[in-house]
Subunit: 471 residues, 3 copies
Amino acid sequence: MAKPLQLSDDRLLPAEAGTRAIARRLYALVRDLPIISPHGHTDPSWFSENQAFPNATDLLLAPDHYIYRMLYSQGLALNDLGIASRNGPSGADPRAAWRLFAENFHLFRGTPSWIWLNHVFSHVFGLKIALDATTSDQYFDHINDMLAQPAFRPRSLFERFNIEVLATTEGPHDDLRHHRALKHSGWSGRVITTYRPDPVIDCEHEDFNAALDQFAALTNCDVRQWTGYLEAHRIRRKAFRDMGATATDHGHPTAATADLGRIDAERLFATVVSGKATPAEAELFRAQMLTEMAVMSVEDGMVMQIHPGAIRNHNRLLFEKFGRDKGADIPMPTNYVSALRPLLDRFGNEPRLSVILFTLDETAYARELAPLAGHYPSLRLGPAWWFHDSPEGMMRFREQVTETAGFYNTVGFNDDTRAFFSIPARHDVSRRIDCAFLARLVAEHRLDEDDAAEVALDLAYRLVKKAYKFD
Amino acid sequence: MAKPLQLSDDRLLPAEAGTRAIARRLYALVRDLPIISPHGHTDPSWFSENQAFPNATDLLLAPDHYIYRMLYSQGLALNDLGIASRNGPSGADPRAAWRLFAENFHLFRGTPSWIWLNHVFSHVFGLKIALDATTSDQYFDHINDMLAQPAFRPRSLFERFNIEVLATTEGPHDDLRHHRALKHSGWSGRVITTYRPDPVIDCEHEDFNAALDQFAALTNCDVRQWTGYLEAHRIRRKAFRDMGATATDHGHPTAATADLGRIDAERLFATVVSGKATPAEAELFRAQMLTEMAVMSVEDGMVMQIHPGAIRNHNRLLFEKFGRDKGADIPMPTNYVSALRPLLDRFGNEPRLSVILFTLDETAYARELAPLAGHYPSLRLGPAWWFHDSPEGMMRFREQVTETAGFYNTVGFNDDTRAFFSIPARHDVSRRIDCAFLARLVAEHRLDEDDAAEVALDLAYRLVKKAYKFD
Amino acid sequence: MAKPLQLSDDRLLPAEAGTRAIARRLYALVRDLPIISPHGHTDPSWFSENQAFPNATDLLLAPDHYIYRMLYSQGLALNDLGIASRNGPSGADPRAAWRLFAENFHLFRGTPSWIWLNHVFSHVFGLKIALDATTSDQYFDHINDMLAQPAFRPRSLFERFNIEVLATTEGPHDDLRHHRALKHSGWSGRVITTYRPDPVIDCEHEDFNAALDQFAALTNCDVRQWTGYLEAHRIRRKAFRDMGATATDHGHPTAATADLGRIDAERLFATVVSGKATPAEAELFRAQMLTEMAVMSVEDGMVMQIHPGAIRNHNRLLFEKFGRDKGADIPMPTNYVSALRPLLDRFGNEPRLSVILFTLDETAYARELAPLAGHYPSLRLGPAWWFHDSPEGMMRFREQVTETAGFYNTVGFNDDTRAFFSIPARHDVSRRIDCAFLARLVAEHRLDEDDAAEVALDLAYRLVKKAYKFD
């Protein structure tokens, strides 16, 4: 007989009865607040075209590197899981791929994927039995049936999920056609874009030149000259703001910033576009561009998000066969205190600038990030991110950051996901953990419950709205 | 109506009933023990002159970088908070500055400042309502009234706080006049000094030469010759010991030590006094001086405290406008295992030397500091420090250090504060957290309660007395 | 009157009643499972010769650097504790040495040694009073009496401890005579060896040349030529497998790997055997040898264990007087993400290779190790190790690793001990902490109890068996 799937109302709340009671009261205040998702990677065409999603495998398994990285680590082949390679689609039968996933679902015990997926199965699809080898086909059929219904189209779900704002991420070389279509669609959902200039900044990316060409075509600028290149950024930032963007995003390997004089910057850019930049020059250019982006943010008010610290595509063979973003990005030690100094020397005290810092290196939380954000007016801390977007990760974030930076130098939750169906699950985890943390402070008499209630509302809704200028 | 201010007797103790009961029993043993404050930055003239403190703002807000750094991070101007700049006093109305603080007091939720300040408000000043915009003036007036009373003069408070020893910190170029006055005052309070030679060691400090001149004047030594320089240290160490000092303190950027031969050391010193030292030479000289100080400690028995790991005055603009120590010191990764090796190669097994290590980089607790202190007879670990002098920080210290170094290679609590009024609050937090940690060990049957009671007494009183040679 | 020694059945389980009840149920499932000890340093001659152990001091104190490092850190002399120096045996009276230990036993409060030793005293020796100055002689006599009995011979204890497999560690230059004797002894206990080639790889070790000579003698290879050297490894690996080995072990200072071309490798080896290798060349050779060992593991199926991150013999004076391994090994920051790349570029996706990674630098758990093991099929994570083989250390391991790597990229427990009597205690601590961790997941509704029960069995027994190919 299949095992029942039942999510406790108390999940993720502390076990101790008194603390749990406090956490329940706090959580009751925030559980039904609208979702603000200021940073993520959903596909805007889902909302502009509003087509049905194809099937369980193509929706939930094949695009989610959180899931197939774990399966891969235990010896399953990506091809068998339906993941396309550089040679094209995998050719795997979606039902068979789903079965492989179901048979190995126990591998996710103790991981956030386990929580997110069970939330999706239970709350989004209404499944009442647990996923395993015996229920695989039942799951596959049920999910596919649901997906065919109008209520499971992107816009319906967006409304059902109670999303107030959803930000996607596009490069400067993207023509934003889906966002434009959305804007003129008459649909009231607020789906906005985010300016992520990495493709025209990172000259170590294999598509850098092609991105520059598109950047030129969209702006009519001579983007291979320093002045024209900067002007093109200004033009595209404006176009992005017209599609609702309030923020930029920068996914660099490190947090390095630089503040070169104009002549040095121009010379460096010439090297970069020549295709002859050394790794050190490529790094220096990325560093310089953070400061250039800050210059523009001071002008146009866009919030900067800095997401450093991952070595991308660490698995050489997998990269060669399957391409980028196949679950093989590995964090590395990340310095902030020296890396950010050039930018902070120039703009650290600038009230018009707001920079949100993220990390994959948790050692920086208490040592560097909280002290920096607890001092510089231009700095805020993004939430626990990526590998740390998890119950333990979020709790470590609050425990290590709050005492020096307080709650008010943080900015609420980012789901950072391309898994649209998991958005409510992820925000729910964040709200529960923040309430669990606050409940402990109350139970230990470190904060009164009415103060904690204010903070709970701030963390779930108000801070993100303010930090990303959505009000 | 104003919110009441009530501090629970159980604050900071674990929520779980059984564990809390144990923690209460342990805490009852230590709560009223005298305070030993072996490392801090109060002003000795407070005690030698015993004048009334001016007003709430000048006492509690303007001198406390823990507080105004947070306010500054949220966009408040230092001038408006009463903080003097290089151009002189801020000119802000103290009452208005206090109001700004009160309006923004919620920013401190979840921080140790929240706990310390509420303790001061409640236990020292007897306030029964919480601080916020509506109670700001009431607070300001009440505190000022109290400060005008004899019971709020420094010596009365020292006695009321039940302080057994209080150490201040002075440079070798300080003439110790306040300590001398104290010594001859007939007052029985034990306020001693600590020898902090950084001003005559760190040639990157802008006042290095002026400090050397005063150092020479006080010692009649040729302090710009290596032999005379070392002799001057010996003379001032003796003078400090005459004013009660049992310890030295070294606030270097890193924990680097060196053990140069005499000729190399002399040559390096010549470069240093010439004003032409490179950053590497300045660093090497600081490193060498730790070993020279160890040589003298072996001779005279003074305990060495090493406090490394902060980049001082990280905010360039603020430094230019407001000067040093304005809440912009940011920790950085700190290595001990290689850095201390030259000193340990020479003195690690020396029974006459005692070196107390501190860190702002918590990653060193379990990885380097506990293994080092759990082996070398000359090493002890100072408590969680500065940004980590907080409930979570202290708990992490015990959790990460105890299993390898035990309790007996630690040295009790340091408040490290210039906020005299907060001293009882800070020691109370430390006692509560240590009891909470011990109570968990007892509740999990990792230690019997009678053993835990011994340890509680050791951590609150006995170890600090022994480590700093106060008995 | 002596204090009673009583170990609670609930020790190390969470204090909160509901969570403890879950933990008890989980622990009941695993407490009596056979012990599998795949990595340790017991002496195979104990089992081949089955002699009685001499006395309490020589058994429990003198060989255990966990214990005497702590006593040494508090000023006790190694000589007085019965520790032999380079000049020979200490000459200390074992009873007097034991008394010193007993008088200072309080130093171990809060450490795992306290837990392990009390387990040994209570469960192995049946002592009912606590160790302290007053019971020292009683302990010494009682333990010695027990040791003289047949039931306390190594083989009897092995059976009483319910050990299913015990792996020792030998170098390639060891002739494995004890293992051979064991194999032909008719005794059914499974004691196997592990191939630890460090002595013939680390040319910075003072006995490198002597080890090479023995390596040559045992293999009849020209081990000072690259081809002969590699061939000798293959021969000895085969001989080790004949003595039950399923794994190799590599205790390098860092996790550096290299993948040189044949000519470069040959040239490097020539430098290494010439005795003229620089530290960088010695390091590169160790790095290269990890990849060479991986080549052979792909051929012969031996599991690789990589144990990096300690600076060995950090205390120069102690090393000169007492030799290696005297409790003065100190961890240092350890990088994996770049260090392992050459090996992973070649073998990361190789299904026939299994590499188990350990660390002394806990910052790598969530940042590097869990992401690596949660992706690469050839990688698994060893348990919390050495200084972190402790309740807090194990809990941090699970909390920081599970969410990204899951449970199934970990490999159960390693006791890594030469303290044979403590093996049941150490495995028991591991089982209790894993059940405590799982119980929290269940209490917080992050995992159902039946799933947690499966995981508990996996962590205590099944995973280690599979990872080390014991089935």
